[in-house]
């Protein structure tokens, strides 16, 4: 801090924390982009799976003695599997339903999940003890930053690469893209679209759980969770262009950096300005900043 010029140091600091915030938002929202893109299902209950991931992470750590990272991975697998069950049992019935019914259904699911979380874990936020290597502050050359936020940026980058490679470079991804572009044609060439839906819904849920678990040190896990961050998730998904998976990364980072910077310079008006900016973007680009050109 002493070495760098004050202005450069400020910009670096704002950029770093903005990107870290964006990385958390990305981890929370990318799963919704996956399911929205494929199934055109307005799943407002996405945060429920993030919360579930958080609770499983915390429980695995405090009750089963798992270290942080394995606990998050276990949460992603469990919640992904649970999401697949839920897709088979409930979501499937509403694919053909009007959007309003999908919205009502997923809002209902939010309330049910909040009540269950409160019943099972109590109304207070869950304590999460991050490992020592994540609690330190680290000098990364451009300044001293908390290791946890550096870690979140790193994981965000890894996940975005993995999702990109999964969608663009694998057979599974190719099937998804085929089903999105033309479902009937995909079915007629032998792709089992129904099973594909189940798997990709599970994937979306697993990604949400990953975000909830990894971000638990920043966004505490408590029964109000699915509602509390819903607005941010929806902003990212809408600005990205509904269902645009790569757009979600850009939108999350842009929102994170813009929000952090604007609130630094205009602390009292920051939120209003940011939301006006989001409105302006959506007025000009109703389909998001990076609409799907291939869909």
């Amino acid at each position: 801090m002493e070495g760098a010029a004050p202005v450069a140091d400020l910009l670096i600091t704002l950029a770093f924390y903005g990107i870290a915030y964006g990385a958390v938002l990305y981890l929370l929202s990318v799963g919704l982009s996956v399911t929205l893109g494929l199934m055109r299902f307005v799943n407002l209950a996405h945060g429920v799976f993030a919360m579930a991931g958080g609770y499983v992470t915390v429980a695995a750590m405090s009750r089963a003695g798992f270290p942080f990272v394995p606990a998050v991975l276990a949460a992603a697998v469990l919640v992904g599997a649970f999401g697949m069950l839920l897709e088979r049992a409930l979501y499937r019935r509403l694919y053909a339903a009007p959007i309003l019914e999908q919205v009502l259904f997923s809002i209902g699911l939010i309330f049910v999940s909040m009540a269950i979380a409160r019943y099972a874990f109590g109304p207070l936020a869950q304590p999460i003890e991050l490992p020592a290597w994540l609690s330190a502050r680290v000098n990364i050359g451009i300044g001293v930053f908390p290791a946890y936020r550096i870690f979140l940026i790193g994981v965000g980058a890894l996940v975005s690469l993995a999702v990109w490679a999964g969608v663009e470079r694998t057979r599974f991804g190719a099937s998804i893209r085929a089903a999105v572009d033309n479902r009937r044609m995909a079915e007629s060439v032998g792709i089992n679209v129904s099973r594909l839906f189940t798997w990709s819904f599970g994937l979306g849920c697993a990604l949400a759980a990953l975000g909830g678990g990894l971000g638990a040190g920043l966004l505490p896990i408590h029964p109000g969770y699915p509602n509390e961050y819903l607005v941010y998730v929806l902003i990212v998904v809408a600005v990205a262009g509904l269902g645009n998976i790569r757009g979600a990364l850009y939108a999350a980072l842009a929102f994170g950096v813009a929000d952090t910077t604007i609130r630094y310079f205009l602390p009292d008006l920051g939120r209003v300005v940011v939301l006006l900016l989001v409105m302006a973007v959506l007025f000009r680009h109703p389909h998001g900043l990076a609409p799907k050109t291939d869909a």
Binding site: Q126, L130, R271
Partner: protein, 402 residues
């Protein structure tokens, strides 16, 4: 044989039934309505108050006069929703015929209920709502909780008198936050401190980093914060820690909502060293509090801790019990109100407390605490006491009717 036995058994059953029916018939039932938030995102506060009240009721059941039974009728207001609270209060007063109303978790809800209790002439014992003016809403309101000004005004004075002369403030932008900012600034500047910068952050800020980054650049000696508590408090303290503000010499101070006892575990070591002002800490080293905490853990689990809301429920129930005892179980509304307005308790877990008959508001010690690790657990350890604090706001804003 069968016939021979039937008659005596029948007589015995009748006699037993007669006894059982006889006892309640002679008993007096005191009906008390309690309106709290039992569901929704803010249920943790309602639950803490309810648990405090229930714990007192369970442990002191035998203290009621013989034959007097206390019936507690609970209603869930679901959150800061004045219209719901008002409807529930009307129902409790009109249909259930309660002799006393209590709860009072939210100022807006208390404001909605106030005209009803004035009209019905029913005492309303407020266990939480911290807005200073609450007790002026109705002559039937008596408060056993605390006021925002008791904490923040005296914290401001204490901070400025203890070597920190430059302070910044960050408060959540809603009535209670603005109120506490005003209280802190008043106390702090009166004692010779200077405010460097003041920020009002939206409620439910997910990331406090930008605000705190500003503070880091302003380099104050103290940073005052007020937030609604719960997860918001954890997010704030973690961001304060992440930016290394403590290491940079910026002391975080605030009322109890900044470091609630039951949220400390969630904050972890990031909370170490935070200084706060409160009328109650679970770590308070008083015999009455040690008993209270021990009984609490016995009832609600070894991991559980009473917080400053819970002590409001406990003391509220203690006041109700005292009122019932004083009138032998027949509550006259006005006499009950007058009794409560003169009530005092030297043995509260929070230390000595009394109600100021002029304002019907609580007079109590305010403790300055620091988060420390005791036996491996984070606690708010009291290290300075400001004795017998009256609500400073009412002293600064006298009202002819009070």
């Amino acid at each position: 044989m069968k016939k021979a036995l039937a008659a005596p058994i029948g007589v015995a059953i009748l006699a037993l039934a007669g006894c059982r029916a006889g006892a309640p018939a002679a008993a007096k039932t005191v009906k008390v309505g309690i309106i709290l938030t039992y569901s929704g995102p803010d249920a943790s506060i309602g639950e803490a108050i309810d648990r405090g009240a229930e714990l007192y009721r369970t442990l002191h059941r035998t203290d009621l006069p013989a034959g007097v039974e206390l019936q507690l009728i609970k209603r869930d207001e679901t959150g800061p929703t004045p219209d719901v609270a008002k409807r529930l209060a009307r129902e409790l007063i009109v249909r259930e015929g309660v002799q006393l109303l209590t709860g009072g978790q939210w100022t807006p809800n208390v404001s909605a209920i106030a005209p009803l209790v004035t009209e019905a002439g029913i005492p309303y014992l407020v266990m939480s709502s911290g807005t200073a003016s609450t007790t002026r809403l109705s002559p039937f309101i008596v408060r056993v909780a605390f006021t925002t000004w008791q904490h923040s005004y005296h914290l401001g004075r204490w901070v400025a008198s203890n070597g920190m002369r430059r302070a910044s403030t960050i408060v959540s932008d809603y009535a209670a936050g603005v109120d506490s900012e005003e209280a802190f600034v008043r106390g702090f500047t009166e004692a010779g401190g200077a405010i460097v910068s003041s920020i009002r952050a939206p409620v439910r800020t997910a990331d406090y980093v930008p605000f705190l980054e500003r503070v880091r650049r302003d380099k104050p000696q103290a940073l005052f914060n007020f937030n609604p508590g719960g997860p918001e408090a954890t997010r704030f303290v973690k961001a304060y820690h992440d930016l290394g503000l403590a290491a940079a010499g910026v002391q975080l101070v605030g009322p109890n909502a900044v470091v609630p006892d039951d949220e400390l575990k969630n904050m972890g070591d990031a909370a170490l060293g935070v200084i706060s002002a409160s009328h109650y800490s679970a770590a308070g080293d008083r015999p009455a509090n040690r008993t209270f905490v021990a009984e609490w853990k016995k009832a609600y689990g070894a991991d559980s801790l009473p917080n400053y809301f819970a002590v409001g429920g406990w003391d509220g129930m203690a006041a109700i019990f005292a009122a019932i005892r004083a009138q032998e179980g027949t509550l006259d509304p006005t006499r009950t109100r007058d009794f409560l307005a003169h009530w005092s308790n030297a043995e509260s877990p929070r230390g000595p407390m009394q109600i100021d008959p002029d304002t019907r508001d609580v007079i109590q010690n305010v403790y300055i605490r620091r988060v420390e690790k005791v036996d491996g657990e984070l606690r708010n350890v009291e290290f300075a006491t400001i004795p017998s604090v009256k609500d400073p706001w009412k002293e600064l804003h006298p009202s002819p009717t009070s």
